[in-house]
Symmetry: C2
Subunit: 419 residues, 2 copies
């Protein structure tokens, strides 16, 4: 039984992770939230207490300041807090240093996105191969449990692929992961998580199609899909983390990711991007100061955490999977509906952060119980799906399945570049 959780990162997802850990601290033990800005951790703790979400008040819930790029500091923090589980929900730039600290201390490592080098955008696939997977052998040698990409997407959607393979299909042809936010935050424009990270997703589209990597232009391939509950929504072929492990671990011809965008969002994004405002390459301004435009844009856009009060509507994230079972063609849509206002009511968050923050806590519980404490580095689809999906059902993220759903039929995708 592992216990005591160290949460690294105090953004919107960290907020949800802290609430959910506190709601299960009888299993998880003491909870420490650490961030570069300790005040953000304390604000989250205030929210947990305000919502009465600390289940066992004999357990500690407290904050620390940490520079997550500084491995010795991280090692000290893990030891000092006696944390056996580390949930990394900071910016993806810190993954490799947090992972290293876990390997050194024996703590369980989890994250929700692939490591990124701030100076490199959309590297060649598979992205895990450039960073985390290089530590696979050391994790195995040291008996380290490292669960990569255990948010919603990547995370739950990967587990649904395992579930499909285990329970629904003999062979899988295509997996199309569809992510749509049909909610409204009432602002002119906002990103639902860190804009710097958000916009990096849109630089290039790598997709796994007919068993090869293909490169596409951003927002160039659109499909309108009739979702359950939220109705018909436009989604666009987009690059995304989970493709980089699913392409390796799941025997399917195509694994693609599609993100929903409204016309207004795309127009604003197109303007900002064409002007150069989403760029991380510094420009020199009149007084000689150099600054990355994206940093200024980030300062101007609403703090994603500030969107939660008053956010209305629902998200729908689902896997449209086609294949065969018992020599019959079969298609299913495995999905979750999450309501922004209900997330706010439960823990002062919104559905984007909620869907990303609940899964790592479910995973931590499975690790604490021993079910998922696998002493090696894995992606989520390599772990048993059923206990995870069932636990999520109890924790607020219900998995629903439609047999023979509305057909999802993308146009023929051809690569713009040979890979």
């Amino acid at each position: 039984m592992k216990k005591n959780v160290l949460i690294i990162g105090a953004g919107g997802v960290g907020h949800v992770v802290a609430h959910k850990c506190a709601m299960h601290n009888d299993v998880l033990g003491d909870i420490c939230i650490a961030s570069r800005t300790q005040k953000k951790c304390d604000t989250i703790i205030e929210s947990v207490l305000r919502k009465n979400n600390l289940k066992d008040s004999s357990k500690k819930l407290y904050s620390r300041r940490v520079d997550a790029m500084d491995i010795p500091s991280l090692i000290n923090l893990i030891k000092e807090t006696q944390s056996e589980i580390v949930i990394n929900v900071g910016q993806p730039y810190i993954n490799m240093s947090v992972l290293e600290a876990c390997i050194e201390t024996g703590a369980v490592y989890m994250d929700t996105a692939i490591h990124e080098d701030p100076d490199k955008v959309c590297e060649n696939p598979p992205w895990y191969g450039n960073y985390e997977w290089k530590r696979k052998q050391r994790c195995e040698e040291n008996g380290i449990t490292a669960i990569l990409g255990i948010g919603f997407d990547p995370g739950v959607v990967n587990s649904w692929c395992a579930l499909a393979k285990d329970e629904y299909f003999d062979t899988i042809d295509t997996i199309d992961i569809l992510d749509v936010n049909a909610g409204s935050h009432g602002r002119y424009f906002a990103t639902n998580f860190d804009p710097e990270i958000n916009f990096r997703e849109f630089k290039k589209v790598w997709t796994w199609n007919n068993r090869q990597w293909m490169l596409q232009k951003v927002h160039s391939i659109r499909v309108d899909y009739d979702f359950p509950v939220v109705g018909t929504q436009p989604v666009y072929l987009t690059g995304h983390d989970e493709l980089h492990s699913l392409s390796k671990n799941i025997d399917a011809n195509s694994v693609r990711f599609w993100m929903g965008f409204g016309d207004h969002y795309l127009n604003v994004f197109s303007v900002l991007s064409n002007i150069g405002l989403t760029s991380e390459v510094p420009v020199k301004i009149a007084n000689g100061v150099e600054i990355a435009p994206i940093k200024v844009l980030k300062a101007l856009l609403p703090d994603p955490a500030s969107l939660a009060p008053g956010y209305t509507g629902k998200t729908c994230i689902g896997n449209f999977i086609k294949g065969t079972k018992d020599n019959q063609e079969r298609s299913v849509f495995i999905y979750n509906i999450c309501d922004h206002a209900e997330c706010y009511e439960e823990l002062e968050s919104q559905a984007i952060s909620y869907t990303a923050g609940v899964p790592p806590v479910a995973a931590a519980i499975l690790v604490a119980r021993g079910d998922w404490d696998v002493k090696q580095m894995v992606n989520v689809e390599e772990l048993p799906a059923r206990p995870f999906v069932d636990l999520l059902d109890q924790m607020g993220l219900l998995t629903e399945i439609i047999e023979s759903p509305a057909s999802f039929t993308p146009p023929v995708i051809e690569s713009l570049e040979s890979v």
Copy 2:
């Protein structure tokens, strides 16, 4: 006979002023270009020499570095260069210090826009009353010729109002100044002059309507007008410098300004403005640096001077004037057509800078000749129009007049705010 010209400012308009002064240096004498960045002055001088535009090679054409906010430095520069005429085409923040240096040294002062305090945007009208006109009495006492707003608009359009009064009308009802750029620079988005100054025009719309100042929302009142040569173009009610003197000096019921904008321009401007990127109010970014978003936007947008090569199409700026003559209703459209590519051919510029830069040189010639050396502070409509208009005809800016042109009929304008 006054001579020797000091040009302050080495942007796109300074470029044209330098070329045109050089082309008339037999009258104007030595030409010095001064700017905070001396290299920009030298680049302009290279262009003048490359185009063989230095008429009398026995006269000097040279550069100096100057901080135009520093009055003692300006006084030294005027004395050292023995300049009797100063053409200020720098940012409008420097007007009052350059004017002061002229009053102190006896030099003739000219500018092409109203003074602005960097921290105040769209102050209460009339704008001249807040700054320049406070020096009227000192100019008169010291026999200083100061010609305010002698670009195209303000400038030529003011002179056309005087011309209308002198030669075309007994009474004037409405003056609608229409400014449209029907050219194409081929870039995604660019401003034709300093974006910082450009966007300040769009913060509020002050308009002189039915003999009172009215406040309107930006880009909220549109008229499609059938222009000569460039055809039908949308124009929007906009605030502009010339209204602030014409409302006082010309006996007309309404004097309004309309700027042409395409849908793409308005969309981009709307996004940038709604996000806050056109703001001069500093924001704090992650590392604690404070920066005004407009400075970053300016660094990203094309340098207006870089647009000139390959710029195609034409500008049309004209005054639609309605009134009576000999007890008959009369309407005229007094206008100029300027061709971007021809401007580039003549002096490596484009039509926006050309139309703004030629008029102050014409004025300098009229001052040098004595016609306009009025020993007081004036706006352009207070000076005899005919010699100016005739000289511009010879210098590349032809005035054309249509009797009974296509009707310009704005909707009823009501003030959003009592003034």
